[in-house]
């Protein structure tokens, strides 16, 4: 495979065992890590040509991230956690219409967390499944073009996992966001437009592009 390419709005399932380089790939795509060689283009931007600070700004503006677990800052309320991207990116703040707080409330309500969005509600009171949904709300705030989810379901039981996945897909579709979903659990792949193995990407020519 000469290049790994994801189209805009596409929902891609990336599978691979731990230690196979998933985190490194996500780090490169999200601009936290710099690729040593090859070209990394995301949303028309050549990440390799950007400085560290510019890559950080780019990530803040265009990428929403969801981790396996512990996505939330324990000292912030649910609402403040969701609003975090709007603190660091003016673009995300501007795109959260009509205003960041309303958009955060709407996202939380759609994710079935209407009551948890109450100001001052502590994230430590939430179950892991609820915490993961808060993380999705945060990743989607301000309509980033790309959502990267790194094993977001592995800490959930199977019922919660199915609910979570459906919500994630629906919200990404509603926000026109491209979804890059990484998991070792191949059973989840059926819901996605495309399924890839990390091993295939590792054989790719040093070209990594997403447009």
């Amino acid at each position: 495979m000469p290049r790994f390419q994801v189209r805009l709005g596409e929902r891609v399932f990336l599978r691979g065992p731990s230690g196979s380089g998933k985190s490194t790939l996500l780090g490169i795509v999200s601009g936290v890590l710099a690729a040593r060689c090859g070209r990394v283009g995301v949303l028309g931007e050549n990440l390799g040509a950007l400085s560290g600070a510019r890559r950080d700004a780019f990530r803040a503006a265009h990428i929403g991230l969801v981790f396996q677990m512990f996505n939330l800052l324990p000292y912030l309320s649910v609402m403040d956690n969701v609003l975090l991207p709007s603190r660091f990116s003016p673009l995300r703040r501007a795109r959260a219409r009509p205003d960041p707080v309303s958009e955060a409330s709407r996202l939380l309500a759609e994710l079935g967390l209407a009551t948890t969005g109450a100001p001052g509600r502590s994230v430590t009171e939430l179950s892991i499944g609820q915490q993961q949904r808060v993380a999705v709300a945060r990743a989607l705030l301000g309509r980033p073009a790309l959502v990267i989810a790194d094993e977001p379901t592995s800490a959930l039981d199977s019922d919660a996992r199915d609910v979570f996945l459906q919500l994630l897909m629906a919200e990404c579709a509603a926000a026109d966001a491209t979804l890059l979903f990484v998991s070792h659990d191949t059973a989840l792949g059926g819901l996605f437009d495309r399924r890839l193995s990390i091993a295939e990407i590792n054989r790719a020519e040093p070209h990594l592009e997403e447009s």
Binding site: F70, Y75, D80, R87, F88
Partner: protein, 429 residues
């Protein structure tokens, strides 16, 4: 930077247990520094206000500090006496407004006994030219009357009318008591916060009488240097005619009619050919003495400053210890768009906030404590605190400590910056 201040504060609040301990350590150290500084200026102030209104102190030829110490602070012993004739000569000088003769050498239960005249109560000034006042009774009228300082009265529980005995020599355990000359407490002075509080005042004639009796006794030789009563005078002569009091005194205080004449008089006395004398200007001598005493005072300040440093090191330790468990926090912040520089600033702000809280708490606590302690310090130790309010010094101190905290905060900030560059979004636990 503005969103970061809120984040830093919220992050600290989340760790409020350790943060409170850190703030407490800084607050204690800062309040110690504020307290020491207030004591320092209070001590300096009290020191300078020991004597005022006196233009010259005249004693036998010795160093100015020695003269000041025994005549004003009742510390140490005079090397020699001044003849009564010299005192009379000075007191009759047209430029001289008043003189107060003083005679030291006896004690009462550890407190110095000072022989003087009633001019002492008229002319002696302390602090901001305050006169001595009587809390009870009045000046001595009889040979066996004594006027005691406030601390003597308080410590020994005396009231007017009580009988006391004078001990020959200085110190609690003295050679012999002048048991056959009981004195009566005629008056108690208002507290001054000066050595006057620790003095038993009697008339010069009483001192003379005591020692006249002693002259014939076994101790006369030992005493002759300190109280060289000539014995030429008729028995009891000085009691009736004080101005001709024909004996040696320890020193005398001089008040001039015009300040312009002070230097001239000082020179004249220092060059006096009849008797080797030393005349000092109290303010000048106090200044010299403070330069010596001030060394201890500076040492105290350095110790307090080091305690503040220890407080800051404690803060540094607690922040550094938290870094490991906060790598996740940093990774989350980076995933939502925080740059490594933001992480750096966050930790720097954290150090600054901790120090600011500690400094504010420390200054408030110190001033509250000083305000509460001021009356006690003034009455018990004669330490007068000028102002209990927050002053420029406190602001400078606050600035210095917070500044130092920011500098100390560079260490954890740099480490977190490096960690977050290396960790990226991977969370290590």
């Amino acid at each position: 930077m503005k969103p970061l201040v809120g984040l830093a504060a919220q992050s600290l609040w989340n760790r409020r247990g350790t943060a409170a301990l850190t703030v407490f350590a800084i607050a204690v150290s800062v309040s110690l520094l504020v307290g020491v500084e207030a004591m320092r200026s209070g001590a300096r102030e009290s020191f300078a206000r020991t004597i005022s209104g006196t233009d010259l102190i005249v004693g036998a030829r010795s160093g100015p500090l020695n003269l000041l110490l025994y005549s004003v602070f009742r510390v140490g012993d005079p090397t020699a006496n001044v003849s009564w004739q010299s005192h009379q000569l000075v007191s009759r000088h047209p430029d001289v407004a008043w003189t107060i003769p003083i005679s030291l050498g006896d004690s009462h239960r550890g407190y110095r006994v000072m022989g003087t005249t009633r001019d002492y109560f008229r002319h002696y000034r302390y602090g901001n030219r305050q006169a001595l006042g009587f809390a009870a009774g009045g000046p001595f009228r009889d040979v066996h009357d004594a006027v005691i300082g406030a601390e003597v009265a308080r410590a020994l529980g005396y009231s007017p009318g009580d009988e006391i005995t004078i001990t020959h020599g200085i110190g609690e355990l003295s050679f012999t008591e002048h048991g056959d000359h009981p004195f009566r407490v005629a008056g108690i002075l208002v507290a001054t916060g000066t050595p006057v509080d620790r003095t038993v005042h009697v008339g010069l004639d009483a001192i003379a009488e005591i020692h006249e009796d002693w002259r014939g006794g076994a101790h006369s030789l030992a005493e002759s240097s300190r109280h060289p009563f000539d014995g030429d005078e008729p028995e009891g002569g000085y009691r009736d005619a004080l101005p001709e009091f024909p004996t040696g005194i320890t020193a005398f205080l001089v008040g001039m009619r015009s300040k312009d004449a002070v230097l001239q008089m000082q020179r004249a006395l220092n060059e006096f050919s009849d008797e080797p004398l030393t005349a000092v200007i109290p303010g000048v001598a106090l200044q010299q003495l403070w330069q010596i005493v001030g060394v201890a005072d500076r040492a105290l300040f350095i110790v307090a400053a080091l305690v503040v440093l220890a407080g800051l090191v404690g803060m540094l330790t607690s922040i550094l210890a938290s870094l490991r468990e906060r790598r996740r926090e940093m990774a989350i912040l980076r995933s939502v768009g925080a740059r490594p520089l933001h992480v750096f600033a966050l930790l720097l702000l954290e150090a600054g906030l901790l120090a600011l809280a500690g400094v504010l708490a420390g200054i408030v606590a110190a001033h509250a404590a000083l305000g509460a302690a001021t009356p006690l310090l003034a009455s018990r130790y004669g330490l007068f605190m000028e102002s209990a309010g927050v002053g420029v010094y406190d602001l400078q101190l606050a600035g210095a400590v917070v500044g130092a905290a920011f500098i100390a905060g560079l260490v954890p900030a740099w480490l977190a910056y490096r960690n977050s560059l290396a960790d990226g979004l991977t969370i290590r636990t």
